[in-house]
Symmetry: C2
């Protein structure tokens, strides 16, 4: 290893000093899209921001007041690395809505459930290990796994989620080639980005496959309580304690700005999660935990979740209605909860290459490629209905239909040459916002 300054050709004097794992570190497409989405004239169907304005200020104000007045010294101080016992007790109540029975000792509070993912990756992933994930999967989970030099191997989904047989085949193939599979990462309810939900029978089958193969399941469940008509099947953790690490969050049922999520893990893993949590942040925010604990203790939080359901149901309906109206020839998923619709484009359309044109037409989305570690997803896009109002959603889909139809026309014109002319490619590059690679 040479010293940094000897890497003379690089502008970063510390170029030679970074850890090997930083090779996998790059800006996510979703991150870049925050910049696009923030321009007011753009209808963003890209981000996954909850509609926090549906949380009445009085409810928040009241919880915050009590946190400051009655719990001030606790809220301001360092706390336990495992999280506040009072909040962990309340988390048990929240999880009981999805059939989970656990002890307060099994819960670890984290800085959003994102940090639980990071801690799980730090605890389990050596370079070259494999994480099996749905294809497509949650962007920043894939980023985290890659940041610890693991390989993410996708298993195909259909409109009922992860396919058990494909999972079994993937495990067999990987094991036969000597790979170390550390866990199966899944979002069974109202999947990000596909919007689909794993039926109960598949949950049982997948747990059985994982048990036989002795592979841990990481069940990520940010959206389970945000169903529109009837509740999804109970959590996988409800029937499997030893083989599942369950991740929950208040980001969607309360607010993401407080950064409070949690993990429920088998005893030995839980102990290690606490130690890793302490090393990373000493303790999760006492202030945020106290505010949420006061909110859960005194506000009608179940009623507030009903309110959120109503808001998102209306937006889902607006999106499905507009898709049917403006893009009747295409195919999309029909979510019964959560934040997302997965739209499949005609195969020869490239959703990433189309994005600059969409932004020019003042609509943003997330290209399907963002959700794959292996270059998949080119002809799909994720549409978020969580944040924009129904009117904006309808307008956004109308603009998107114009873009897609325009691309199809363009492709038709140049169909005989087999590729787009150089001039058009150049124009695309010019339209690309600088932060979108």
């Amino acid at each position: 290893m040479t010293t940094p300054a000897s890497q003379g050709t690089n502008l970063d004097p510390w170029f030679g000093a970074y850890a090997a794992r930083t090779a996998g570190l790059s800006a996510s497409e979703v991150r870049a899209l925050f910049a696009v989405a923030s321009r007011p004239e753009v209808v963003s169907l890209a981000g996954g921001m909850p509609y926090v304005s549906a949380l009445p200020t009085e409810l928040l104000q009241s919880a915050v007041d009590r946190a400051v007045r009655e719990q001030g010294p606790v809220a301001l101080q360092y706390g336990s690395g495992q999280g506040s016992p009072a909040l962990r007790e309340q988390i048990l109540d929240v999880m009981s809505l999805e059939g989970i029975r656990a002890s307060v000792d099994d819960v670890v509070v984290t800085t959003g459930s994102q940090h639980a993912l990071e801690l799980m990756a730090k605890l389990f992933l050596d370079p070259g290990d494999v994480v099996i994930a749905e294809g497509p999967s949650y962007v920043t989970a894939v980023t985290v796994f890659k940041s610890f030099q693991a390989e993410v191997v996708h298993v195909p989904m259909d409109d009922e989620g992860l396919q058990p047989q494909a999972l079994q085949e993937t495990i067999d193939r990987l094991k036969a080639s000597g790979r170390r599979i550390k866990f199966i990462y899944t979002i069974p309810s109202f999947h990000n980005p596909m919007g689909v939900t794993l039926p109960w029978q598949r949950r049982v089958e997948i747990l059985e496959i994982a048990r036989r193969a002795e592979i841990l399941v990481v069940e990520d469940n940010p959206y389970g309580l945000l169903y529109f008509d009837q509740a999804p099947p109970q959590a996988m953790r409800s029937v499997e304690e030893d083989g599942v690490v369950y991740l929950g969050t208040f980001s969607k049922t309360f607010a993401p700005g407080l950064r409070v999520g949690w993990a429920v893990a088998p005893h030995a893993i839980r102990e290690k999660l606490v130690l890793a949590n302490e090393a990373a942040v000493l303790s999760p925010s006492s202030f945020s935990q106290t505010v949420i604990s006061e909110y859960l203790a005194t506000a009608d939080w179940r009623g507030q979740i009903d309110t959120f359901r109503g808001v998102y149901r209306e937006r889902r309906d607006a999106m499905l209605d507009a898709l049917g109206r403006h893009l009747p020839s295409l195919d999309w998923t029909v979510p019964s909860g959560g934040f997302y619709v997965w739209l499949r484009l005609p195969e020869h359309l490239d959703s990433k290459a189309m994005l600059p044109r969409a932004v020019k037409e003042l609509v943003a989305y997330t290209p399907g490629t963002a959700f794959y570690a292996d270059g998949g997803g080119r002809s799909a896009i994720r549409l978020s209905f969580c944040y924009p109002t129904p009117d904006f959603i309808r307008e956004g889909i109308r603009r998107l239909a114009n873009v897609i139809n325009g691309e199809l026309e363009l492709l038709g014109e140049f169909a005989q040459t087999g590729s787009l002319p150089a001039q058009t490619e150049q124009t695309r590059q010019n339209l690309l916002p600088p932060s979108i690679g």
Copy 2:
């Protein structure tokens, strides 16, 4: 690699699945001491908890009210992975008090400065790399570096902090043996745990040594503004931009419960810190950042820091006075700011072995061994004067003196046998709280 269940002798079915780096994961002594310190009859001189009750509730209440009423939708939402631009601007004002000039682009807000340490470790440390740190050094920094499989090599300190010549010799020795030194981790002002402060001339020398050796300096400065008489020398970052990553925090000048700290880093490192921050937590808490930003914008935060200085100065005085009265034959550091005194015991006393007896006498401290990666510090202890009132500090030192004098008498009695009788060792083990190993 065998599958987990084949590790039949272990009670943890996932024993075989953890990453290699978890081998270095163990409960810190300071963590264990939280449990001891929480018993009301024990005077704890062990923890590093700021005295948050010195922050008037009105100041907090007012900042929180404005955050909710005027910034609600921002405070509740996801934010930038780099942190709020408004808060980063205000952080520049805070740092200007210690001579630091930086751009708002250079700052990355983190979940306490602890998380900046974790992110730096993740970005720089490969297994086998070396971090040079003062001996003794901050416990949880050592834990973080070890958690990424780096070796921490200590450089001796004296009452003026890190010794430049010893640093140079350590670097030379490590380089000669082919080791990769990734950074020099230092707490130049009111060191944790030694309480000493590096004079300006040594800061310049150390920067020069680091520059010549092309090694990054991580300057951790949680206590710099908490001086008792006159300000410490300016931050090392004030004269070296390209070779220093500076860490700051609001945990000591406002409150740790909000978990807001920051890093200032050279451009290329800063970009990587933001990506690593996003992977780990998506964004630091908008809620905490908004509360602190409102506090800084409208409260007399400089006056509040003066209040904290007065509180800690009185406690420091109480501790030094009690040490002079009850343990006149021993030697200790005299801090001019911060939270800690470093007490040197007679060489043949073992501070860790003595702890159970101290706890029986209702006083707790942190044994010096907690602050070394290499088993050093046996005959020293860290005494914290930040949290207990002056009267409790005096009583705590009185109890501690009884314990030390009792140990010295015991050693005197058994001096001829050369070791303590088995019975006494057994008694010690029984007194050990279960969480203290």
